[in-house]
């Protein structure tokens, strides 16, 4: 096992990794920007190194600074968390070159999964259902239009390097195809430095369902059930749960078996998430692979009893899944996560500032992952997630009741938070009934989708 791990991240996920390391008896090194000088991840790590100014390109995203911090502290491994450098294959490569273990998949796998059309091909080869679309990237507008006609409008134009909705366009009519493609291409080229595009059939009002993968470095793969993440606003997940109300045990087993084959074929290692869309008939189609720990991993931890972050570290240390996981993993009960953001619950305007009043909900069935506290400052430089509120119950009804109660007892003063929006969603009959899809917020008028 590693003696010392550096956590190349901030906020709740940095604290989450510190907890996992403490539970394993591993020493921790935090890195922080000048804006995070007083943050809890810097406080609770055994060592903490300032790596740059507030701007993340000069601190959390700056590979030489992070690697140097690992070197001067003699860290044996780096956990990248999510976001920042977590899916940066170059970073994974530099770690290798510097003899620091990157806790995640290999650089080659990260790169391949980052090229969406490549991941799509890999899944298709392993028999995982994918959406009708182009094979590989588009060579020309004409070829694209032809493919679009053959699968039928509406379609999605997507950037192979895309993410967060950028470089993505819905095209409902052939006449829009040319201009939309050009727009998306420009956007992708500007955002990702790569204008390669591909086409997929559009699923209207899909459910977003994703499967949790753990793979060791000895060729073993396990699937830890699925999460439903259909409550989104502008491709940003707001609420996630496990299991999905729409996935039957039979479907879960079938997709899980397919993914075991696929991920093994890809040579996948460590934790990852395979995202699917579910159409109105209940069919799943592959969307993409997230080659890192997911924000919403706690719901899976609640229902499986498996500590995913601890598992990541143990896998990276070379342990086989047979040691990392219990003999048989059964999903038990139901878990829901609300992402509590520092933003106005109606306008969604970011709301950084000082938290003047703060009461965390506790009690039975409640877990909170946060690095915020009374009198802390939420800096304006990073993402707005300030806490993850996760509840567990024997069934979905109990998990919902506990989430409502926990939201009522969660006090945040001094800044705006998304708690009022979460309260409205949790009280909505459609949510309670499990009638979810990615248009939920728009069609229920709980928030504009734009």
């Amino acid at each position: 096992m590693f003696r010392k791990v550096l956590i190349a991240n901030r906020g709740e996920i940095a604290l989450r990794v510190i907890c996992a390391c403490k539970d394993l008896g591993i020493q921790t090194v935090a890195v922080y920007s000048e804006a995070d000088r007083h943050s809890l991840h810097a406080r609770f790590a055994d060592e903490a190194i300032c790596i740059g100014p507030a701007k993340s390109t000069r601190s959390y995203l700056d590979i030489p600074s992070v690697i140097s911090a690992a070197e001067i502290t003699d860290s044996e491994a780096i956990h990248p968390g999510y976001g920042f450098l977590s899916e940066n294959s170059e970073f994974a490569e530099v770690c290798d070159a510097c003899n620091v273990k990157f806790i995640g998949p290999t650089a080659a796998v990260i790169r391949r999964m980052g090229m969406k059309h490549e991941a799509r091909r890999a899944m298709q080869e392993a028999g995982i259902p994918i959406l009708p679309g182009s094979e590989g990237t588009l060579k020309s507008t004409e070829e694209g239009l032809e493919i679009a006609h053959s699968i039928g409008f509406p379609i999605m134009i997507k950037a192979t390097a895309g993410g967060g909705g950028r470089g993505m366009r819905v095209v409902r009519d052939a006449s829009e195809f040319g201009p939309m493609l050009a727009q998306a291409q420009n956007e992708a080229a500007a955002a990702f430095g790569c204008g390669d595009m591909y086409i997929e059939k559009l699923v209207e009002r899909p459910r977003h369902i994703e499967f949790q993968v753990l793979a060791d470095e000895h060729g073993n793969v396990e699937i830890l059930g699925e999460r439903e993440c259909s409550i989104q606003r502008r491709h940003q997940k707001l609420i996630e749960e496990s299991p999905s109300p729409a996935v039957s045990p039979e479907l879960r087993r079938r997709i899980g078996d397919g993914l075991k084959v696929a991920m093994k074929a890809i040579g996948y290692t460590n934790a990852g998430t395979v995202e699917f869309l579910m159409d109105e008939d209940g069919s799943l189609s592959f969307m993409e692979v997230n080659a890192r720990v997911q924000v919403e991993h706690p719901v899976t931890e609640f229902v499986t009893g498996v500590d995913l972050v601890k598992s990541q570290i143990r896998i990276a240390a070379g342990q086989p899944l047979s040691e990392v996981l219990p003999a048989n993993i059964e999903m038990r009960g139901h878990a829901i996560e609300c992402r509590i953001n520092a933003e106005h619950p109606e306008t969604f305007a970011p709301s950084p500032g000082r938290i003047t009043g703060w009461n965390l909900p506790g009690g039975i069935g409640v877990r909170v992952d946060t690095a915020a506290h009374a009198d802390c400052i939420v800096p304006p430089y990073y993402d707005s997630l300030i806490a993850k509120l996760i509840t567990y119950g024997g069934d979905r009804t109990e998990a919902i009741a506990r989430m409502r109660r926990a939201l009522d007892l969660f006090i945040i003063e001094g800044i705006h938070s998304s708690i009022p929006l979460h309260q409205r969603i949790l009280a909505h009959p459609e949510f309670v009934a499990g009638n979810l899809d990615t248009s939920f917020l728009a069609r229920t008028k709980l928030a504009c989708s734009k």
Binding site: A30, A42, R43, P64, S68, A374, I377
Partner: protein, 187 residues
């Protein structure tokens, strides 16, 4: 690199619970302000803040340091050299990071801070004489030390012309981003 560009990397003492500023202290501040010839003075100490402005006149801006924490900083520096990177408690709020080195050196000196994370070396190679010693006069661009980062030796140059009045890191020690390396009194 000017003294104002980077902040102190390590503080370990819990900020005092902020005793309220007394009238006496404010009076003293006013006296200091009047002698100083500056146009505006802004002092914040936790919840307390005093701002004093002169109606006319120009000159440069002064960031008034919290006068107190001499002991804290010495302790902090000692701890730092001991290799600990423990950090300030969560509840400590706005601090004046620049104040830290002031007690060590003259009011007018400026800190040369590390622009990168790495290992500090005071000479070009083991055994060779250090680039600079305390009391040396340096020009802009003079090499003061090397910070090794990812196997690369980065020469750190002085951004001011002046005299080296303090050196703050031992040879071979790791340094954070923004950590003070030398104090230079400009000429």
């Amino acid at each position: 690199m000017s003294a104002a560009t980077t902040a102190r990397p390590k503080a370990r003492k819990r900020a005092p619970a902020n005793p309220d500023m007394t009238i006496e202290e404010i009076k003293e501040l006013l006296a200091v302000f009047n002698e100083s010839g500056v146009a505006e003075l802004d002092v914040q100490r936790g919840d307390n803040r005093v701002r004093i402005k002169r109606s006319s006149g120009v000159t440069h801006e002064v960031i008034a340091p919290a006068p107190a924490p001499v002991a804290t900083h010495n302790a902090s520096n000692a701890a730092m050299h001991g290799g600990s990177y423990q950090i300030a408690p969560p509840s400590s709020g706005a601090e004046e990071p620049m104040a830290s080195a002031r007690p060590l050196v003259d009011e007018n000196s400026e800190m040369v801070r590390s622009p990168i994370v790495g290992t500090f070396y005071d000479s070009a190679s083991p055994g060779s004489p250090p680039f600079v010693k305390i009391g040396d006069r340096v020009d802009v661009g003079a090499v003061l030390c090397i910070i090794e980062s990812m196997k690369l030796m980065n020469e750190i140059e002085s951004e001011v012309a002046g005299t080296i009045v303090a050196r703050l890191v031992e040879n071979g020690r790791p340094v954070e981003y923004g950590e003070a390396l030398f104090a230079v009194r400009p000429r």
